[in-house]
């Protein structure tokens, strides 16, 4: 029988710094809630709005898989690996920070806010060479179906293990150093769909970006999160027009490699 943990949007941690408005699903920075540290290997889910012309100056990261999903507007990213990129709504940015990266991220617009999700996943491999990747999503693929945006590092996992779980090895989207799969989808009211877990023992964290979804008798509103464990599949139904969801499948525990 599956186990669920519901995090309503309004119960998230909040940091208002004027130029930055950030909602933390899990404990982060000055928000510390012992009951909300992480969901398996998913450690950070921040829902950020940065004012026009503002952003984060150069700062380091290490040994963390960082996925940024702009929802509105564009971010300018610059790092000490030589990347200077603009990542916009409809794109996904991934950094495997490994042995260490310094980067800055700013709102590209001088006067309009940029809204984005920033997600941190613990890696399954420490001290990797830092890497940066950015991908563009397909609008058509995302409508009334799930579009895979993140999967495990190529060659890092056992094909047999996934096939045993009745799944082809899918390598759409970008990848991270973890046995994790992320999917995004926008659905019309009343559309039902199923998500089959890729790996036995993993859990799934659902995050409603817009609209509302029904799962197992529960109604999930915008920015609500629901963690589900001990299940092999989930069935969801969109409850409002243009309902958008991010489905994050992550290991509940992991064995670290160096």
């Amino acid at each position: 029988m599956s186990t669920t943990t519901l995090h309503k949007a309004a119960t998230r941690g909040h940091a208002g710094h004027g130029w930055l408005d950030s909602w933390h699903t899990f404990s982060f920075a000055g928000y510390y809630e012992p009951e909300r540290i992480q969901f398996g290997m998913l450690r950070v889910l921040n829902d950020d709005t940065v004012a026009g012309g503002r952003g984060f100056g150069s700062h380091p990261h290490e040994n963390m898989e960082i996925i940024s999903i702009p929802l509105e507007g564009s971010l300018v990213h610059e790092d000490n690996l030589g990347h200077k990129k603009v990542v916009s709504a409809g794109e996904i940015q991934v950094m495997s920070t490994g042995t260490g990266v310094f980067h800055s991220e700013y709102n590209e617009s001088p006067d309009q806010p940029v809204k984005f999700l920033q997600i941190w996943v613990f890696p399954n491999k420490l001290n990797v060479t830092p890497r940066y990747e950015q991908i563009k999503l397909s609008d058509s693929k995302e409508h009334n179906t799930l579009q895979q945006i993140v999967s495990p590092a190529p060659g890092e996992n056992s094909e047999h293990e996934y096939r045993e779980h009745k799944h082809p090895v899918e390598k759409q989207g970008t990848w991270i150093y973890q046995d994790a799969w992320f999917n995004l989808g926008t659905f019309d009211t009343g559309r039902e769909f199923e998500y089959d877990l890729r790996k036995q023992g993993n859990g799934v964290y659902l995050f409603v970006i817009e609209g509302a979804f029904l799962y197992d008798g529960k109604r999930l509103e915008a920015r609500d999160g629901l963690g589900v464990t001990d299940t092999a599949a989930l069935r969801l139904k969109a409850a409002e027009p243009g309902s958008k969801i991010l489905i994050m499948e992550v290991p509940m525990k992991t064995k670290l490699q160096s």
């Binding site: 920075a29 990261h61 040994n63």
Partner: protein, 109 residues
């Protein structure tokens, strides 16, 4: 007004530039004081000079190196907590330290 005791935190990692950021962030917190080292031998030497209730292990050290260091340090001070620091100073640093302090409170230490 009562002055609270300083919490000394030893930070071990290979990337000096990142360690310096971690040091600055820890020291900016009232009552917390960081010492940074880049080798296990320097960590053990620092441990001989003073007590560190918390040790953060940063990037560059393997799982095995972390475990070996933990054994060397805990031999000197069994009450010291050695944990892996993730993220490079931003976001999780304060949370990790608060987590250890919370656990110590629950354990009555």
């Amino acid at each position: 007004m009562t002055k609270t005791a300083t919490l000394d935190i030893l930070v071990v990692g290979r990337e000096k530039a990142i360690l310096e950021v971690v040091e600055r962030l820890i020291n900016s917190h009232e009552g917390w004081k960081a010492t940074i080292v880049t080798t296990e031998d320097d960590a053990v030497a620092a441990f001989r000079r003073q007590r560190f209730p918390i040790v953060l292990v940063c990037a560059g050290l393997s799982v095995q190196e972390e475990e070996t260091l933990r054994q060397r340090l805990v031999t000197q001070d069994p009450a010291s907590v050695v944990i892996r620091h993730y993220g490079g100073g931003s976001g999780l640093l304060e949370n990790e330290i608060l987590g250890i302090l919370d656990q110590r409170r629950k354990n009555g230490k």
